[in-house]
């Protein structure tokens, strides 16, 4: 127990110390009246807004955004893996899809989002679409690159054993691609939160992005900050979930690397 605590402080101690210092300075600047509260609310004011709006934030807006993030990420995961694996198995598919993938990422998200609103209206699906567009790219690329990377000697060895392509895929290429795929997933899950928020900004009736936009219209900076704080916290938590899965899954794959 004691060693765990020691390791934790060694890993994160400095970071939390810096956070505490920063928040203290921030609080002090605002209290001293150097910046007006509607530009930069004090940390205690943000906390106050969080507590005051807790029913609205935690009961309505946070679940709404989380649902969009999870559905969008789920689609990205399924689509990304499917496209990545498909491109790995078929060179023609790769030649057709890869340019489209790159093009999909060069289209400005803000510009294309109104089209999604046009198509899907103010429903959850317009936000899911934005989330998908932003999050599936890192999954496709990391899956495809991961499956392609290395393992040539292993592949030859398995071929001499009489293994077919599916066996080589299952026994060699998937395990070797896992680190890359999981890196892609970590990026994608964080992007998903961004995607859902952007989707909500452009038109929604609930969600943390919608809430922060409405509050910024009312010049309630403390509430905007409270929503941002929750969004960031959501991103961190989702990232940690994937990191946890990664640690469990890669315990043996990462041996000898």
């Amino acid at each position: 127990m004691k060693t765990k605590w020691k390791k934790w402080t060694a890993d994160y101690g400095l970071f939390f110390l810096a956070v505490i210092c920063l928040i203290s300075i921030w609080e002090w600047i605002v209290l001293a009246g150097a910046v007006p509260a509607f530009i930069l609310p004090s940390p205690t004011a943000i906390w106050g807004s969080l507590v005051e709006n807790r029913e609205l934030l935690f009961g309505e807006h946070l679940p709404a955004t989380l649902l969009e993030v999870l559905i969008g990420f789920g689609f990205s995961l399924a689509g990304g893996l499917l496209f990545g694996i498909g491109m790995h198995f078929s060179r023609s598919l790769e030649k057709i899809l890869y340019p489209f993938l790159v093009i999909s990422q060069t289209v400005p998200l803000i510009a294309i989002s109104p089209i999604f609103i046009l198509w899907f209206g103010y429903t959850i699906w317009s936000k899911v679409a934005v989330t998908f567009l932003i999050a599936f790219f890192p999954i496709v690329v990391s899956t495809y690159d991961g499956l392609k990377a290395g393992g040539n000697e292993y592949r030859e060895l398995l071929r001499t054993m009489g293994a077919n392509r599916w066996m080589i895929f299952k026994k060699i290429q998937v395990p070797m691609a896992l680190p890359s795929i999981l890196s892609g997933l970590k990026m994608a899950v964080v992007y998903s939160v961004t995607g859902a928020t952007i989707g909500e900004w452009l038109g929604a009736s609930e969600g943390l992005g919608y809430f922060s936009r409405r509050m910024s219209g009312n010049l309630q900076a403390d509430s905007v900050f409270a929503a941002i704080f929750l969004l960031s916290l959501m991103g961190i938590c989702l990232f940690l979930v994937i990191s946890f899965i990664e640690k469990r899954l890669l315990k043996n794959v990462m041996r000898g690397r």
Partner: protein, 253 residues
């Protein structure tokens, strides 16, 4: 020679007028012939770049010859993948699998259920019984090579191609591996084609040696009775054989 153990008289491996060139280069092999009898231990010696590993890739079926025929156990029909046991130069144990699972891999990829009891029996003969749940990065170099060798055995093929299996080991470990292999050889009931740089190793282990160089091969018989042990390298007869082989190599160059 070892017909008593039930291996047939058909040639285990016959290579007939084999020619092979990497694209746009001059041929690495020019019409070479090479045979291995059932139960024989045959070494292939040659300098780096003489094409030893390429020869193995041709035999396993990873590469196809430009001209000539390769037959495994009398079968010249092509499609050699999955017909011989191949042990590459690097051990290529899957780092995420414990030793037992690595050893069972050849059965697994062909969709067969491995016989655990048999695998464990072999693990103990290979001195690995205490390590069946260990991961490759926890093993010493010698143990890794033995595990890779056992994996090659578990393919169940009669002909095993071993590409410099002891090349990366230190002298002492190598010596131990020789004793171990010589002690086990009669029981294995396998046919081995073995690549090495090490003349001493080749003489000690082999029934015959093929010298590869300049696209040709030359055959040399090892007149050393079996069973052998690794102490024999100090005997005058052995040293005389070694001198003879070296003369042959210099003569060829």
């Amino acid at each position: 020679m070892r017909g008593a153990i039930g291996l047939s008289d058909t040639l285990m491996l016959s290579i007939h007028d084999l020619t092979y060139a990497f694209q746009g280069n001059r041929p690495i092999f020019q019409k070479i012939n090479l045979t291995v009898n059932p139960g024989e231990f045959v070494s292939v010696i040659g300098s780096s770049g003489s094409g030893k590993s390429t020869l193995f890739k041709l035999i396993t079926g990873l590469l196809e010859p430009d001209q000539g025929k390769i037959g495994i156990n009398g079968d010249f029909s092509g499609g050699r993948l999955g017909k011989v046991g191949y042990m590459p130069q690097k051990d290529l144990l899957l780092p995420w699998r414990p030793v037992l699972d690595n050893v069972l891999l050849p059965l697994e990829v062909r969709g067969k259920k491995g016989n655990l009891a048999e695998a464990r029996e072999w693990l103990s003969r290979f001195g690995l019984s205490d390590y069946e749940n260990a991961f490759p990065d926890e093993l010493s170099g010698g143990m890794r090579q033995r595990a890779a060798f056992l994996r090659t055995m578990m393919t169940g093929k009669d002909l095993l191609l071993l590409d410099e299996p002891f090349g990366a080991l230190d002298a002492l470990t190598k010596r131990k591996m020789h004793s171990w292999l010589l002690g086990l050889w009669e029981d294995l009931q396998k046919t081995v084609l073995f690549i090495t740089h090490d003349l001493e190793e080749a003489i000690l282990l082999s029934d015959r040696i093929y010298l590869i160089g300049d696209g040709n091969v030359q055959e040399w018989k090892v007149n050393l009775p079996r069973p052998r042990n690794s102490e024999q390298i100090y005997q005058p007869a052995f040293i005389e054989l070694r001198k003879e082989l070296e003369r042959l190599i210099h003569h060829e160059n």
